[in-house]
């Protein structure tokens, strides 16, 4: 079982060796890691920008930057985090690495297209970061590029908008690749309802990537058209409607959050059964709620626009649909908790991340209901409350799940184990810092502190200090986690094939996996997640 005739994918040497061997590789595992390293690189840039924001806001008045700079900083922070980190997120990294293995395939349907998607991703990311420099300075519109300001501002809109456009292609092509992979390359015997949850979430995500991204693509193209040719689509002076821009933008950007969270939920759905030593509770419900989220998520975008001036009919429609989409997410939480109930819990590192994920995701989700209700939305729209909400649900959600997935699948990816004590320590410090950083924002928002302002009234000072200290603590935790993983990848103890006792296919191949994953494509005869 352990002996394979192939070398593992890390050692494999094709036509090229070293770095070139990686940059020309169409092996989904290497591509997944290349996404991970790129994401980590850009994450550090965006995190530094975030840290700078928090330092600025440790006290009222100007601390280290002026208002214009602050606007540029939060814009680029947002663009990188959204388009470069969390949208590709778990799908680009763990989806690429594990989708083929988990369905019993040797690679994705279109490996060369996969590599191309990575290059497109890098090109788009470089364009975005380039907008920080030269010319009119970084864009200051926020990552949402609202018109008409986005085509009137003198800052570097073009590279940023173009970069986002290019990144969209990477997302679309990855989605396309995964859909065909899941349709065509499942191992014999793996029917749809025997497929593990993580691939299911990748499937739902892929459809959203495919269908929603083109709309933001055309919208960004229209903004470029406004900027370069003065067309008038969103310019009130020419008869255009800025609210139409918001519609078009959010028609993509709301489904985008499901791109961020579905694979995260999938990873959690893998971790919890393993560390509860119990079959996932309600597999069918988890699958159908995944599809329901993907589907209903298309129709709720207006809840980002409640105060924009939409008609009453639109307000009412969007609010109701928003409440509806919360239901399938809640179903998943019940499934996870029910899985743990009467299971044999192991509180090892991946479980810590999964459990804390549920905690922060729930806070994010529940505060989403406050935002989804029309009357309360008016009070908290565009305040720090929103900032707290989406950091809990996106950073808490996708971020925690990413760390969880990383600590879960690390031994498989690198064939080595990390130091558990340092990993736990890192997790705890990170978690505490996270709550301290983002928790106060709910209070600040409800008492009236606006978002995207570099300054605030003295009455908000206290919670802002707490928030900044939280940032510093969280960063400390992050450094511990990353250093631990880096060192362990190089010199950690060698890991066995199935260190956690997982049941899916990835735990039945060697750590690290051989180049083509399997010596022979397996035939699936039993259902997934079965613990006897």
């Amino acid at each position: 079982m352990d002996n394979t005739s192939q070398e593992n994918y890390l050692e494999y040497r094709g036509r090229f060796k070293g770095l070139m061997g990686w940059l020309t590789s169409t092996d989904h595992k290497r591509i997944g890691l290349m996404y991970m390293y790129a994401i980590m690189f850009f994450f550090i840039i965006a995190a530094i920008l975030g840290l700078l924001m928090r330092i600025e806001k440790i006290a009222p008045g100007q601390t280290i930057m002026d208002a214009q700079t602050y606007n540029g900083v939060f814009t680029i922070h947002g663009i990188i985090m959204i388009f470069i980190i969390v949208i590709p997120g778990l799908a680009a990294v763990f989806g690429n690495f594990f989708l083929p293995i988990m369905i019993g395939a040797k690679d994705v349907a279109f490996p060369k297209l996969n590599l191309l998607s990575w290059y497109i991703y890098v090109a788009g990311s470089i364009l975005v970061v380039a907008s920080l420099f030269a010319g009119g300075g970084p864009p200051d519109t926020g990552w949402t590029f609202y018109a008409p300001y986005s085509f009137k501002t003198g800052t570097n809109m073009l590279p940023a908008v173009l970069g986002a456009f290019v990144l969209g292609f990477s997302s679309i092509l990855t989605g396309l690749n995964f859909i065909v992979t899941i349709h065509r390359l499942r191992a014999p015997g793996m029917s749809w309802m025997k497929m593990p949850v993580f691939p299911w979430t990748l499937y739902g995500t892929a459809w959203i990537q495919l269908l929603a991204t083109p709309i933001v693509g055309i919208t960004l193209l229209m903004v470029i058209g406004e900027r370069v040719f003065n067309i008038g689509f969103f310019d009130p002076a020419k008869g255009g409607d800025p609210i139409l821009y918001q519609h078009l933008f959010w028609i993509y950007s709301h489904p985008a959050v499901y791109i961020m969270i579905l694979p995260a939920m999938g990873a959690i759905s893998e971790i919890i059964p393993t560390f509860s030593r119990k079959t996932l509770f309600g597999y069918k419900a988890v699958v159908f709620s995944t599809l329901a989220i993907a589907f209903v998520g298309y129709f709720v975008w207006g809840h980002h626009m409640f105060t924009s001036g939409m008609s009453g009919t639109a307000l009412f429609t969007f609010s109701i649909l928003t409440f509806l989409v919360a239901i399938p997410s809640a179903i998943k939480v019940f499934n996870w908790v029910s899985t743990m109930h009467q299971g044999s819990i192991s509180t090892d590192v991946p479980f810590l991340w999964a459990a804390s994920f549920i905690f922060v995701f729930m806070i994010g989700g529940l505060t989403g209901l406050v935002l989804g209700a029309l009357a309360t939305n008016v009070h908290v729209h565009d305040t720090a409350f929103v900032v707290g909400h989406f950091h809990f649900i996106v950073f808490g959600g996708t971020g925690f799940a990413f760390f969880g997935a990383l600590h879960y699948w690390f031994p498989k990816i690198y064939g080595r184990m990390y130091d558990r004590t340092w990993a736990r320590t890192g997790w705890l410090i990170f978690f505490i810092g996270f709550i301290a950083l983002y928790g106060p924002m709910f209070y600040l928002g409800m008492t009236g502190m606006p978002r995207r302002y570099f300054d605030y009234l003295p009455e908000y000072h206290g919670p802002n200090i707490l928030s900044t200290f939280g940032a510093l603590i969280m960063v400390t935790g992050f450094v511990i986690i990353v250093v631990n993983l880096f060192k362990s990848a190089k010199s950690g103890k060698k890991a066995e094939m199935n260190p956690w006792g997982g049941t899916n296919l990835e735990w039945q191949v060697p750590s690290p996996p051989p180049l083509e994953n399997f010596d022979e494509i397996p035939t699936i005869d039993k259902a997934t997640y079965k613990y006897e």
Binding site: I172, G175, L210, F229, I231, G232, G239, H247
Partner: protein
Amino acid sequence: MSNVHRDDFGSKLGMWLFILTELLLFGGLFITYAVYRYLHVDAFHLASQELDVPIGTINTIILLISSATIAMSITSIQQGRKKLTLWLIASTIILAVIFLVNKYFEWGAKFEHGLFPGSDYLDSLGYGDVLFFGLYFFMTGLHAFHIIIGIAVLGFMFYYVKIDRLKPDNFQLLENGALYWHLVDLIWIFLFPLFYLIA
């Protein structure tokens, strides 16, 4: 990579998925059209009179014929009639070029009359006209861009058939290329009435 057996169905599935993205790309513009047409129904009606219906109709028919020729090339390649296949692909490309030439003259005439996005004349006509022509140039422009890409794609198809890379038992690539071309035709089928026939 070790030999993965050819999967024509997967290839077709991939191509259709890509076509769906294109439908949604233009879909965003159709949303915009729907909104502004509703808000400026009279101005759109009047502005449409500036467009040349005969040229638009001829262009529509040209594209329809080109769709038929590329569709027939799928039949001919399966029958092993290589020369006919090449002629059909070439005809499609020629028709596409004629379409673009017509477009070039159409747009040229508009520009000469001061009708282009950002022109003072257009701005002076009022909101409805600005939005109508903004949408007209943007949508037909994006469409024309797709025709240019299509010509390149068809060019590759021509070449692959010539060097026998595409054969009676291996022609999924040609089918995919044809699908792309039909998409270009489909979009125009809607653009034509929405811009030319609402006068």
